[in-house]
Symmetry: C2
Subunit: 332 residues, 2 copies
């Protein structure tokens, strides 16, 4: 009997605040280029006061993956915490409008924090530098994990970023137990090299014991395995995890399963805003997987989905991804 | 002695909620294509639940004009009401980040309405259909008009839409008295043919007595003068107002001053989202005017500014408008 959900994502529920900036602005304002920095509310207010005009688009790494997966027709749910405020309403709307089941209780209006947001500064070459105020999303609790939903899922996608926060490890453990009980599979994304540094032990335990599919980019997997060499890191990861997928921006993606390895070339694209590239790669890859495509095709699907999202501002798909797949000769 | 502000805009302070839709969706949901419909909060909630994923961008007609004017380097202030909520903070940030002085007191958190928003549905050909929940912006009061600011302005730009609301006529009258006292000039935009129907009497009085520069598009000026013919309407308007500017989408703009008339051809553009075309036309035109360019050049500047904003989602400029002016050979 097929399950209720093909994929459930767990991550930080955020609204992205996207603005253009140049390298001098990043330097003057202590923003490290190309990575995600956690900031507190005061720093968020200060930085927001300094940036130029912005646009607001729902974001959150796993939420972006889930939005892409659902956009392709996948049946998905999402777990992440927002507040009963205007940004929380925007975040919830944009997932539900994509067909995603999203039923996590809102943090109440009297909660001292607000819905999380990420100030994304996009430099002229399209690189994004992220400044994240977690807000209420940091307070996702084990009680927010609906075990019945997890048991009814083929896959869950765990976002590395979500390991920050007081009860997050316990919440993830609960989700993993439930999905395994139901016979489902666990995918993990390492999210960011600094995120790997913060949670190396927890990630290492999960990779050894729980994870069936690992998503990482080059710098993340190098940070995780600390072997100084991509091939060695891929081999080490493949010794622990059934399927390992490593993206390398314009150099495409590597898919490794046991002794087998594929390279899927990237789709040449003029980068407007790299935000969401890895997230949409994962969304496209997982959709291919649950639809029964071979791993190489899944990697190609991930690359095509990523290429769409980096061609415009914002980390949610705007064009018809299935039509893009067909343009590349895929039978979908 | 030069004044403190070159331009002050008064209008409805709104955040735009932009989503793609097709004609069938508009028909099923009772959205009239190409115009602005006022909706109440309940209808706003219902419609928002039905639309697809959206992005949020600061909007408001006069605010868009002011943002464009300030983007070009003009010294400007804005008057419009938002609440002390998240969307209000976004609106204020985006104006101030453009260098606009915006000091209108926020509606308090316990106000029963929220910051206004406009659900903008963009159909595949780029036409926008607007559904406006005014919220607190409807409650701009005469006390929100800082007469000292008005007296210190070369121009004010009055947004026709802003005539909806209980105290708006009185607020506008106060602003007009103050600017005239200071020797400044009044520009009015008719905003929308249905807006003309709602406020015909007030607009007519202002055109006869107060307005120095009128902005309208073809359907608005035809609605206002009801003479069945564009030339006749332009002539009638020019009999009342010193300078009349009428835009006609891809057919360009007409500028009329007494017996003189110029036609400024539109800039060929692939329309992604027509939202803000008229607003940015006005912003570009007014900037040319305060910088001392001739009326024909002002019209060309308006057309170039409009062409930039319709080439992407959202009604605020994203590219460097002055650089665009230079590409067209203008010495700026």
């Amino acid at each position: 009997m097929s399950k209720r959900f093909q994929l459930v994502g767990i991550g930080n529920a955020m609204v992205d605040v996207l603005a253009h900036a140049d390298d001098a602005f990043l330097a003057e304002n202590g923003v490290e280029k190309g990575i995600m920095q956690l900031i507190d509310r005061a720093r968020g207010v200060e930085l927001y006061d300094r940036i130029g005009p912005a646009i607001e688009v729902s974001g959150g790494s796993a939420a972006n993956s889930i939005a892409g997966f659902a956009h392709l027709g996948g049946v998905a749910a999402y777990v992440g915490k927002v507040k009963d405020d205007q940004l929380g309403a925007i975040f919830g709307h944009d997932l539900r409008a994509q067909g995603v089941v999203y039923e996590v209780p809102l943090a109440r209006r009297d909660h001292p924090e607000e819905t999380g947001r990420c100030i994304v500064l996009v430099t002229p070459e399209g690189e994004r530098s992220m400044n994240t105020y977690l807000g209420v999303t940091e307070h996702l609790a084990p009680a927010d994990i609906d075990e019945a939903v997890m048991e009814q899922a083929d896959w869950i996608l765990l976002e590395g970023y979500r390991f920050d926060g007081p009860e997050s490890h316990e919440a993830f453990a609960r989700a993993i137990r439930a999905i395994k009980r139901g016979g489902g599979n666990v995918a993990l994304t390492l999210s960011d090299p600094f995120c790997v540094e913060r949670h190396r032990g927890a990630f290492s335990d999960m990779l050894k014991n729980d994870v069936d599919l690992l998503f990482a980019n080059r710098s993340e997997i190098l940070a995780m395995y600390d072997l100084g060499d991509l091939d060695a890191a891929l081999e080490a990861a493949a010794g622990e995890v059934e399927t390992v997928v490593c993206t390398e921006s314009e150099h495409g993606a590597h898919v490794v399963k046991g002794p087998m390895r594929w390279h899927c070339p990237a789709v040449p694209t003029k980068v407007v805003d790299a935000t969401g590239a890895g997230d949409l790669f994962a969304g496209g890859f997982l959709w291919g997987l649950v639809e029964g495509f071979d791993l190489e095709t899944c990697g190609i699907m991930g690359n095509i989905a990523a290429s769409e999202v980096i061609s415009h501002l914002g980390a949610r798909p705007e064009a018809d991804l299935k039509a893009r797949f067909r343009e590349f000769g895929l039978k979908v």
